[in-house]
């Protein structure tokens, strides 16, 4: 097995209406792939508007540390004020580190 390389795992949980906009923003930042799952939960803004299908979405991307910073900056600037969004970064070890820009 090739040696492990450290990258960043960025996780964004947001109300589902934002899914398309967030994915578009990730693409603009050069992210090549992402994982999107439907999520449910409760936060400081309360229950999500359940009539909007999908409740919350959880978007995960593996990227370089520099890109992770850019993603967090974009997410906080565009959506933190008005929407239910949380985002966090953890360190992940992957094989094939070059896959993640």
């Amino acid at each position: 097995m090739n040696p492990l390389v450290e990258v960043r795992l960025v996780t964004i949980v947001a109300e589902s209406v934002l899914a398309a906009s967030i994915v578009a923003a990730l693409r603009e930042l050069g992210v090549s792939g992402y994982t999107l799952t439907e999520a449910r939960g409760q936060g400081s803004r309360g229950r999500r508007t359940g009539e909007i299908p999908g409740d919350n979405v959880r978007i995960e991307v593996l990227v370089s540390p520099a890109t992770a910073d850019k993603i967090l900056a974009t997410v906080s600037e565009r959506w933190f004020a008005d929407y239910a969004v949380v985002a966090w970064v953890t360190t992940a070890s992957v094989v094939r580190g070059l896959k993640f820009p």
Partner: protein, 321 residues
């Protein structure tokens, strides 16, 4: 009117709604699976479109022109009156007023269907082209509401995207697509699909209303948060818009049943197409206000008491003419 009201309250559709509300308030875990809820809404909307399209084959342009013009007028008028009342009397912010106005300007398809069922039960015939009017009324109200809520140029730049999304959204495609498919279907084709789309319709609606009751009951705890003004607004505005639309419908040449359905459309507030559009275009608008007023106040009011009132108003105006 009293007996029509009692009949309506005892219809399976309204009773199923009440069952959903009661079950939820009692703490039951009853819920329709989300995919079934989506499937039922697709079935109902497509069935309305197909039937409307099929009946359009017998309608002439002259017959539809005046009611269509009235419908478009209502689509522009209802969000404006809602906005002014919320802003001036309710003291809501521009964003919140516009967000709520967009919901009330658009239509609740389920209220439309409930009104048609009511008329069928009350023995009032309804024009076959009403689903065409439903499609006409769906978008202008949201568009006007979003326009009122987006003041700056940059915000308005995103409006075109929001409107495009509404136009290609599920409910519009099913309604308009259904109208076209139904309009092109031959008599033989129609008799082949009508057992599924017509016979099953009321049953599907009853099941759908059960889930609507559950969703509504979940909103009831939010009633405290929205305050007394919005509660009153959720009843007063449908009465205002419904009465106006019933009268205008009669003047435009609709039958008593047709005017009742038009009134129910104008009186209703959207909670499927409008919420995501408003959420994206007017981020500062609080979705709790619009969804609670639309779902927990206006929808149950219209389905139980409002529709019989519009029916009575429409027939009263018809007698006066």
């Amino acid at each position: 009117m009293t007996s029509a009201l009692a009949d309506n309250l005892l219809s399976p559709v309204v009773l199923a709604f009440l069952l959903g509300v009661t079950a939820r308030l009692a703490g039951s875990d009853l819920r329709l699976p989300k995919d079934l809820y989506t499937a039922l809404s697709i079935y109902l909307l497509f069935a309305i479109g197909l039937k409307g399209g099929h009946e359009l084959q017998h309608a002439s342009v002259g017959e539809i022109a005046a009611p269509a013009a009235i419908t478009l007028l209502l689509g522009c008028l209802t969000p404006l009156s809602a906005f002014v009342i919320l802003r001036r009397l309710g003291g809501f912010s521009v964003a919140d007023s516009a967000g709520i106005a967009a919901h009330y300007g658009s239509v609740s398809a389920v209220t439309f269907i409930a009104a048609q069922s009511f008329c069928a039960q009350a023995g009032s015939s309804v024009e076959g082209f009403m689903p065409t009017l439903l499609a006409l009324l769906e978008s202008p109200g949201i568009a006007v509401g979003l326009y009122l809520g987006t003041r700056s140029q940059t915000e308005r730049a995103g409006l075109a995207d929001s409107l495009r999304e509404i136009l290609v959204g599920r409910s519009m495609i099913l309604l308009l697509g259904g109208l076209i498919v139904g309009g092109l279907t031959t008599a033989d084709g129609w008799s082949a699909i009508s057992p599924f789309f017509e016979t099953g319709f009321r049953g599907a609606l009853t099941l759908f209303l059960l889930e609507m009751g559950i969703v509504t009951a979940e909103r009831i705890s939010d009633l405290k948060k929205v305050g007394p003004f919005l509660l009153g607004f959720g009843v007063f505005l449908p009465l205002l818009h419904g009465t106006l639309a019933a009268a205008l419908g009669i003047f435009a040449g609709l039958s008593g049943g047709g005017a009742t359905v038009l009134a129910a459309m104008a009186a209703s507030a959207s909670y499927i197409a409008a919420p995501p559009a408003v959420r994206l275009a007017i981020p500062a608008a609080n979705p709790t206000y619009s969804l609670t007023a639309a779902l927990a106040v206006t929808f149950p009011f219209n389905v139980s008491i409002g529709i019989p009132i519009y029916h009575a108003v429409a027939h009263q105006v018809l007698r006066l003419l």
